[in-house]
Symmetry: C2
Subunit: 425 residues, 2 copies
């Protein structure tokens, strides 16, 4: 290449507490290699920003603002839920990307997302060969679902795990002190439609120093009302109270989500429930115990105030490594976290080929769930514990965490053509 | 008194992130005054421990364990929901207290709770005059509801306020970055059956540095569907997204709780809802916007990991002052927090007479809520901001906060009599 190329970076899918730390790693590493790489343009609202030529010029941000990304939850440039069509079905989206990339002299594509995004990134990496436009595409892993293959863990997950473990411990202390005359069962609903990684983190609330009766309802285990009630009852009899961590993805024997039990309001409208109130209702009917329930929802994945330092470090590292991989001439790859040892925890960045990542979902190993289906095994604990190590507190002002908001200055459009992205979900 | 008297301490009602800091203040101050005060006995599960002669000997705990109480959420000795009957209706409970106090040479009564507990403490203070047993009773204020009179704030509230303010800010950042193609409205349900103090804290998510569209639903303001939908719609049009903080105590024009809209599950069983899913349903029907909702429940009041340092300091201070007041010969009083100035924030401990505290509920001033009923005024902000100042992180081990559990060694029973407390709620 005669001239150094610009880079495109975009955030994709559900955001996390640390995805901006990856953005920080990408941009700081690009800035440190100014001799080899041009400007970093970010897509406003993810890949939509590329399709609609709505690019953000990150060079307008100060070094201080970019450094502050390390501490800010959410997606600083906006994210989106948008999956590119299959290349062979409809290549117009890819042709549009080339049009925009060419107009802005973009030669690097950094895509920060989960499984679907890895697939998109892989397709973009094939543009060079199939459409003749030279592009280097590197995927930056991110997902609270922790379901990407090859990488030991996914940035974003460790912080959710830490939040859920701490919240479960704290609420368990609360219910324990109320149990004599009041609430005896506390239920916390957590994310995880397909895999129980996040629910498993609830098991970390209890450890050898601090025993807590936690019953976990995994999406991997079909809900059985009688066994569940017996387990809760056993705990309440032994400890005086019980905590329940229920994954939003738990299904009953009818194959339907617990959360989707046909609740109707007074007007007959369907009520989009959570699983937690349904579990509460089952406990009320089956054991007649006083309960409280919480639904963590976005709080869990946005809780930068209690992010795992390990997670933040890894999120930054995969962002930085992505740029380094690209500069080293690698295409269609993803920085992966490789665990060297658990005790003490040691990890390094490895390189994963994207075709081995895309469209592969990593499920929880069977031997991570106890035989009764309600807890985590020592193996699971050994896996999870390192991921929540360390605190990485953001700066505070007036009692509130200071989360940077970038200026997000747009890059002047160069094209007269447009691309219809309206109505996309 | 020829001999120095022992003290009784109990925790009452819903626990908080900092009630153990008050316990720490009581016990450490008593230990520092060993020449004037004997052992501190704690009631196991609050006042029930006194009635059933189930006392905990706090002298069995190390100085280190007691100091660690400062960092532990929940009630270390157990709490209860139990209101003593009116003296003139049934004095048996008071006679029983005297019996237990006399058996264990207890001359000081420290009761750590909210409004109902202040009333109980006041009644106990009258035992001396009415039943001839010498007792000094001092109330230690605690309630996340922030509804005690005279005191500027109630220990426990500042930490919930900080948690809600931070959580609302974090989730708002999240939804802002997803809003282009996905969730546009985020709803967080918070505690507060009668007063909107906690909901008001959601307003702190937005400040002059970080503007966030937050719509607050206060229990003080009757819910109006049309006005609410118009406000959310306006915010979504202006900002692209909107956050809603809804108090569990919000009522509709029919006078019924929003949370109690007659939800039924598939089996026709009544579903104990939250307000958040009901609000979500209203937004879905009225504006057809994608939403997410969370219910913080116990997480908010147990979140010691992000407690307000101001709150922790004040919780400790009222515990310490209670013992000092008692040693100084004051009966039927409560340490109150007196605000000297807001900017900079200065406070001191004052003394409030219990008969002015008991059975008085402090509501939010009208001028704390904006005219449209959906926000907080500058006056409210000036009041709230100092209360969330400072972080007071607990110690961590293996990524988890270390919350002390005491040995809670029982005191040998001296009485052969018992007292029936079964079935009490």
């Amino acid at each position: 290449m005669a001239k150094k190329k610009n880079a495109f970076y975009a955030q994709s899918g559900g955001v996390t507490a640390v995805i901006n730390a990856s953005a920080c790693g990408v941009i700081e590493t690009a800035r440190a290699n100014k001799d080899k790489i041009g400007k970093v343009y970010a897509g406003r609202n993810g890949i939509l920003g590329a399709l609609s030529e709505d690019l953000i010029d990150t060079t307008k941000e100060s070094a201080k603002a970019i450094a502050a990304l390390r501490y800010a939850p959410s997606g600083a440039f906006g994210s989106c839920r948008y999956k590119l069509k299959n290349f062979d079905v409809d290549r117009r989206e890819y042709e549009r990307l080339i049009e925009v990339f060419a107009a802005h002299d973009i030669g690097y594509f950094f895509y920060n997302g989960g499984g679907d995004s890895a697939d998109t990134c892989n397709k973009v990496s094939q543009i060079s060969a199939r459409l003749g436009y030279p592009i280097t595409a590197v995927h930056v892993p991110k997902t609270v679902d922790n379901d990407l293959p090859i990488t030991d863990t996914c940035p974003g997950f460790g912080s959710v795990a830490k939040y859920i473990a701490i919240s479960t411990r704290e609420a368990s202390f609360d219910v324990a002190s109320m149990a004599k005359t009041s609430t005896k069962v506390f239920i916390l609903e957590v994310m995880g439609r397909h895999a129980g990684w996040i629910a498993a983190a609830g098991g970390l609330a209890s450890d050898e120093d601090t025993e807590i009766p936690v019953v976990i309802l995994f999406p991997e285990v079909t809900f059985n009302r009688e066994k569940f009630l017996a387990k809760v009852d056993e705990n309440v009899k032994k400890f005086g109270y019980c905590s329940v961590v229920v994954s939003e993805g738990v299904k009953g024997e009818d194959g339907k989500f617990l959360a989707d039990q046909g609740l109707k309001d007074a007007f007959g409208h369907a009520q989009l429930g959570g699983a937690a109130p349904v579990v509460a209702s089952i406990i009320k009917q089956g054991l007649n115990l006083k309960y409280h329930w919480a639904v963590a929802d976005y709080l869990q994945r946005a809780a930068r105030h209690i992010a795992s330092k390990t997670d933040v470090d890894q999120a930054y590292a995969v962002g930085a490594a992505a740029v380094q991989f690209a500069l080293d001439g690698h295409n269609a790859v993803m920085p992966a976290i490789e665990r060297k040892s658990s005790k003490p925890y040691k990890w390094k960045i490895a390189m994963a080929p994207l075709d081995k990542v895309a469209n592969v979902e990593k499920m929880m190993p069977k031997n991570f769930i106890t035989k009764d289906g309600f807890g985590i095994t020592d193996k699971c604990r050994e896996y999870l514990t390192p991921l929540i190590q360390g605190e990485d507190y953001p700066p505070y002002k007036n009692g509130m965490p200071q989360y940077v908001r970038l200026k997000n200055v747009g890059v002047e459009k160069k094209l007269t053509t447009t691309f219809d992205i309206s109505g996309k979900e």
